[in-house]
């Protein structure tokens, strides 16, 4: 005998069970969103250990506040937002503010666009992870999450101009790193 429940019903039951702190529901939710959210947190950290820390901290927040989740909205987006906020908190707690001289960045040749196009997800992710925390966070928030510089400034406690500057530097470094992987005639 198979029991089939509508997806919405299933999700709402899962959320309700999580709100009741039922361990099996927490596990199911964790398993369901692990992959996507780990993909998010990996972008904000430079290693998998930190990413896992952010992920677990984020899930703790999810389980604590799941009663506030609005049933008719996207659970994925809600959890993702919590993960991003957790990553921002992580950045604010751990980052050491420092400036990097753009003159040390790579000089990009015109062929680098090809290199970027050919890069896989994993290669781009690794290149992003190699960025400094300040550059990486701004790049993620602006390019992936679609934050404005004003929002980034407020979230990270930096000025808009710093956000703009960090984004330019992040792009430059990222292109350099990706190009270096493909050995497309980098000139320093």
């Amino acid at each position: 005998m198979d029991i089939v429940l509508p997806i919405e019903n299933e999700e709402s039951k899962l959320v309700q069970a999580c709100a009741n702190k039922e361990r099996w529901a927490q596990k199911v939710l964790y398993e369901t969103y692990y992959g996507k959210m780990m993909g998010v947190t990996l972008r904000y950290s430079n290693n998998s250990e930190d990413a896992l820390d952010i992920l677990h901290e984020g899930f703790i927040k999810v389980f604590k506040h799941i009663g506030r989740y609005q049933p008719n909205t996207s659970l994925n987006a809600w959890i993702r937002r919590i993960m991003v906020n957790t990553a921002i908190d992580y950045y604010r707690k751990n980052v050491r503010r420092r400036t990097e001289d753009i003159d040390t960045a790579f000089d990009i040749s015109s062929k680098d666009a090809d290199a970027i196009s050919q890069a896989t997800e994993q290669e781009i992710l690794e290149a992003v992870q190699e960025l400094s925390p300040a550059y990486r966070t701004v790049f993620n928030l602006y390019v992936i999450e679609g934050f404005s510089h004003k929002e980034i400034g407020q979230a990270l406690g930096i000025t808009e101009s710093t956000s703009r500057s960090n984004l330019v530097k992040a792009r430059t470094k990222l292109k350099g790193k990706l190009s270096a992987r493909f050995d497309y005639g980098i000139r320093k």
Binding site: I3, W24, V28, Y30, G39, I116, S117, L125, K175
Partner: protein, 585 residues
Amino acid sequence: MEYGNKKFDDKIREALGSTDVPFNASHWQDFEQKLDAADLTTDDSVDEATFDANVASNLVNIDASAADWDSFVEKLDDAESQDPFDAIIAAGLTSAAANAAADWGSFEEMLDAAEAADLTTDDNILDQKAQQKLEDYEVPYAPENWSLMRERIREEFSLRRKLIRYRVAEISVMILAIFTLFNYLPKNELGNLMIIEQVKERIKQKVSPQKTQEAALQSAPIASAKKINKAETNGDISLDVLSQEIKTNYVATGDAISIYAGPKVKTFSPLSVLETPLDVSDNVKLKASVAITVEEIEEEKKGLFAWMRKDDEPESEINKDKTIKSFLLEALESKKTEELSSNEEEVLQASKVKLEHKNVRLGMFTSADLYGVYAPYDRFFNYSPGTAYGANMGGGILLDFQKNRLHIVTGGAYMPKYYQPSHGDEVVGSFETAYVREDLEEIKLDIVHIPLDFRYDFVQGTKWRFYGVAGAAFNIVLETAYDIEKEILVVNKDADATVAITSESTILDRKRFQEGLTEGGGLPENTFLTAQLGLGVERFVTQRWSIFFEPIYQQQFSGMGIGPNENSFRTVSLRLGAKATMFGK
């Protein structure tokens, strides 16, 4: 980059500096024609002489007076003020300033647009690629990470963590409250008691031994005028009203004047002997008991009260009275077995000032609770009765109403209990769905404990008190949490695991998992009574503060089981806390 620019400039300079264009004959012919056309024979010097003569003749007729200069300046100012350029600039600047705030938004938009327009092809590709490939990037599930997550959840949602949070807030509030009361409430009886103790100790050191006094009495039966005058100037005793009989009992012992208080001093207390003129018209008979001096007592009083009161606070006459009375009575008591007659002893008891202790004290404590959780026969699992054990930390506040040796103690304490219930796993399921193991791993109860205890002080010293406590307590379960672990052992790949888990009915489902009072549970099912018995020791560290330690045994009344297993508790609490006096005399 700068170096590159310089190199570029040098190259250009080098290339341009050596440029040599060959002669072109046609260019010269064109130039020659232009020269021919031009009138190069005109003599400019003639015209210049005519021009100078005309200017000179006109200037001769000009009357350059001072008044004309002033009018010229005025006209110049008028002309400047009428210049429309200034007005245009002013208007432009004013409107620019007024719209500066509004324009920033549009400027920002322009900045963003310019930034977007400035993006190179590489930048665009990078952004798009990064977004496409990373936005939905997923990592394969790693089951081993769930165990880490589970530990985090346990730690985060455990009562211990809650307790720590509550404890910090609780202690902060208590410290604040007690310090506030400590600073603003008046002094109390306890302070007096401590002073009395110090007075006794210090004066006893100065008092001559009994035999010395006796000897002094015999050797110097009448006080010298000098010594009496000294007492008079002190204002405490009017020797003029003393009978000769009394005078004979004033004995000079060095520089001190000794007063002997006796049992027939019925109309006044020993204090009045010291601080008011003596009315000794009847047969007052003062006998030697313990020698003290007026000066010494006054000195002690001043010294001891000085540190007790603020500079602007008048010395309490009541406190002084009690201090001296206490001392004198203690002194008489020490004498009674040797020299006082039975009649004298009665008088002494009658005149003895009984110092009552009436206090209201506020305290806080933390407790280490060790508890046994008794589970009766389980009809669902068919388990025999058993006892599980657990330990936790608690804490709370208490109010102590004291009258002499008896105290009534109440308050409120947070005494959580969590424990592993004593029953095993259960495996349920079928091949069609899944096999699931279910286990009630832990029960967590948030309990508020409201005691009503009676305490009796067996030993009631000024510093140490030893006491016994007995009473009952009303316990309320505010919140419950049941940690039920479900684990999929085998799952049919065609079945949905979530549905499989949720659809299986277990024995635990038949049990009643009550909710706490704050979660919507009823009062009767979330309350139970305990009886308690204990001992305690209290040590006063200042006149207001004391610390105490008391082991208390609590036994839950039978027939009122809590939770799905109808548990009852027996608890040993080791309480350590502090109290401060709020009101009292």
